[in-house]
Symmetry: C2
């Protein structure tokens, strides 16, 4: 992991861009404490729209988390942002758009083709990022995962014992294999659902919540569309992490 920039944001949060192999990422650490102990880390998931486009929302989440004493980090997803195009997933996305515009049902095959390659490739990258981040003296355990593509969060939680709590953003385009992994999860989960999410089927999202094996799982449903998560819902997610990562 090589840092490529280093700056202080106005509220004292330190922001460093890095490259891990070919993968760009960003690390935010809280600077306010007088003699900072290693901070718990939250991995910030995001949809595959590119880090540059997602930056304003990500830095907002990073600032809120830093105010609670958490370090946060994120990496670019395969095929997004400045990373090389990935024809297979672009084809799957085009297929999805076509059936949705035609009002046809989204088949399991389309969901599998869209999501499974992304999950299979992204999760080992997040694990490699975790290795590198946890070797920094300013980062300690435990680790949380928050947001983004829910199937990536489920797979990461399922294969990575260092992730001890997760905030997931409810979605409905979840491959059957990932639903089975969801059934076997045991870590505490905090699931955000946007009640009128234009891109997700509400009943499927509720069914997935029901499927999670975790004994502690909480669903926070709020009004509004996909990007309309209210500020107080973000605060509640940070309180969930404060209960489980401190």
């Amino acid at each position: 992991m090589q840092f490529t920039s280093d700056q202080r944001l106005d509220d004292g949060v330190r922001e460093r861009a890095f490259i891990l192999g070919e993968i760009p990422g960003i690390l935010w650490t809280p600077e306010s404490a007088p003699a900072p102990a290693p901070a718990p880390l939250i991995l910030l998931g995001h949809p595959p729209l590119g880090l540059r486009k997602m930056y304003p929302r990500l830095v907002g989440r990073a600032r809120d988390a830093a105010a609670e004493g958490f370090a946060t980090a994120t990496i670019e997803l395969p095929g997004s942002g400045d990373r090389p195009r990935w024809p297979a997933t672009e084809q799957a996305r085009a297929d999805l758009r076509r059936v949705m515009e035609a009002g046809e049902p989204v088949t399991d095959e389309i969901v599998d083709a869209l999501v499974l390659p992304l999950v299979d490739k992204a999760v080992p990258e997040w694990q490699a990022a975790l290795d590198a981040l946890l070797s920094l003296p300013e980062i300690g355990g435990p680790v949380g995962y928050s947001g983004g593509v829910i199937s990536i969060g489920v797979r990461l939680a399922s294969v990575e014992p260092r992730v001890s709590a997760a905030v997931l953003f409810a979605g409905s385009l979840v491959p059957r294999a990932v639903v089975e992994e969801a059934r076997r999860l045991t870590l505490p989960l905090h699931v955000l659902l946007q009640w009128d999410d234009e891109g997700n089927d509400r009943q499927a999202a509720l069914d997935l919540f029901d499927a999670f094996g975790s004994k502690e799982k909480t669903l926070h449903a709020n009004m509004g569309g996909h990007a309309g998560v209210p500020q107080f819902a973000g605060d509640a997610a940070n309180q969930f992490f404060a209960r489980h990562l401190k």
Copy 2:
């Protein structure tokens, strides 16, 4: 309203029992502030099991609310606790038990007979309590309502403009007329749902949440049965009131 007892609990909360006409009630006020301003008030709803039986849970909620600067108050429901028996609702409860034990469907008629008389009688009593409580110098506005029989909360929110935010405990035995009132509500709502509530149908509870007319409504679903609301869910409800009543 006549006070019949007055004591300080160990954490500085003042607890006063009162009688309002024939109706027993309890008022808790925070005492910690050096020169207390009038406190916002939360009316504590509860199921019709009698105040004596509900006291441990009510005083827990009152202490948590007092720690946030809220006064709380509750009154006995018609037909419960030390108030005179009410044969009509006892008959309706027996009818409900019989069909549930027989595995028969709970008809709209049974729900109406069980809930509507209770709502019609209880809500004006809560309003009378509100009149009396708001006349005390230590109580100010605004007012919240929290928990208990959801149909009482919906009706009270619907007819009582002094109630400006409500925490409701999701239920499924809700008369059709009350669902219509729910559609017309506009105040901020925070709805608690126990995912495996043995006494409520989950889908009906989700449908009722969907029906609420309020633009700000949040559903917090947690694992466990009817009485298993986790402490952190209570904390989140107090934060909802802190956002809306302060």
